[in-house]
């Protein structure tokens, strides 16, 4: 029986169901990344302001989001918010909210880092050439921060994909849950199904993340 476990994948629509399960988390990652990008850029710029109040607020937000395990944040959104405000957030809405909040914090920090990495004399020489602040930002600052940011942003996407795997723990039906259903349904015919199903899920995640990581690495090397 040991070598037949792999056949469970080709039974009915099992493999397709796994892919659909993966699609659930990938969709959440994609939405969260797309929302995090503009919000994170705003947050990053907000953090470079010299105002002590804005600094304190963004700092607390950033520190709290980054020090808490994402799963804790997910629990707070899914269980806590429902109770506190009486909103009944579905698991996928909670997930999008939490991962957007998290992604915004991470992105904001990346943007801030890229902005403050531009040396003082770049601003000085732009000013010496008679450029206005806006012109300096558009023609000097943005192009330089972009090169630094794009690889890091792509990396954030893979981190997002990996992190969204957590949604199974707030009861969402995604790839791990689908896998478990398949394993349970075939418990007697295919006792080794768990090995193959979880192995395949492992591989699927790798195939989803690895090309993106490679792209980030490549861009980082080229633009350094």
């Amino acid at each position: 029986m040991r070598d037949s476990g792999i056949n469970v994948l080709f039974l009915g629509k099992n493999f397709l169901r796994l892919l659909e399960g993966l699609g659930v988390t990938l969709r959440i990652s994609l939405i969260a990344v797309l929302l995090s990008l503009p919000l994170g850029i705003l947050l990053g710029m907000f953090m470079t302001l010299k105002n002590p109040v804005s600094k304190a607020i963004s700092r607390i937000y950033l520190e709290f989001i980054r020090i808490m395990p994402q799963l804790v944040l997910l629990f707070i959104a899914y269980f806590g918010v429902t109770r506190m405000f009486g909103w009944n957030l579905s698991a996928d809405v909670s997930a999008v909210i939490v991962f957007t909040l998290w992604g915004t914090a991470e992105m904001g920090d990346l943007v801030r880092g890229a902005l403050i990495s531009i040396p003082r004399h770049q601003y000085d020489s732009a000013a010496a050439l008679g450029m206005t602040k806006v012109q300096t930002f558009i023609h000097v600052v943005v192009p330089q921060t972009m090169r630094r940011l794009i690889p890091l942003t792509i990396n954030l996407t893979t981190r997002m994909i990996k992190t969204t795997s957590l949604v199974v723990l707030i009861g969402m039906t995604e790839v791990l849950k689908v896998g478990k259903q398949i394993i349970d349904a075939n418990r007697f015919e295919y006792p080794t199904a768990a090995l193959w199903i979880y192995g395949v899920i492992f591989l699927l995640y790798f195939l989803a993340c690895w090309p993106i990581s490679m792209l980030a690495k490549k861009l980082e090397k080229r633009w350094r």
Binding site: R2, G5, I67, M68, P69, Q70, L71, V72, F75, I76, F79, G80, T82, R83, M84, T158, I161, K162, T163, S165, L166, V168, L169, L176, G179, I183, P191, T192, A193, A194, L195, W196, I197, Y198, G199, I201, F202, Y205, F206, C209, W210, S213
Partner: protein, 221 residues
Amino acid sequence: MGLNFDFIVKYLPWYVDAAILTVRVAFLGILFSLVVGIICSAVQYYHIPVIRTIVSVYIEISRNTPLLVQLFFLYFGLPKIGILLSAETCAVVGLTFLGGSYMSESIRSGLESVEKSQIESAASLGMGKVLTMKEVIFPQALAVSVPGICANVIFLIKETSVVSGIALADLMYVANDLIGLYYETDETLIMLVLFYLIILLPISAFASFIERRLRYAGFGN
């Protein structure tokens, strides 16, 4: 909101036990991650053939898969081929599998930051490979690696939260249990956040202290 303090007092011991488990798993995982990281970075730094390729494959796999999926494979998958590990062993193995690659990358970037001329000047003083590593490369690399290693430590402690997925009674597991049993959600979640803060804040503060010291006491040639 009025908090139910009786509830908090009653279930405090659950949290304490869970926190101990979280810390134990994290500590062992981080320790082994460092060992794996040191070995892997050394293999890459010294360009040891064949093993080096294996190490790069490991690093790519480890960095591009979620810990939760790694754990499911270890805990539910491996027993099917006769490898039976306890949930806690799985958690430590999984954390090491994940953390080893992160540690390796941090250590390697430190090793590679030591300039070649430093190594040559040690060689010109008749120092052998081992002595050069111990006296010249390692201390300088450490200064560069430590911030990254600290970040990894915090990251790995946070990652332990997913071990509840394989039914290990950590903080998340206890919180999930209590919410399911009693619906005292506010208290449960506040305790959860507090316990993670108690574990993570001192480490995070220590990490930024170290980082600041390293930055200002930078050697600079």
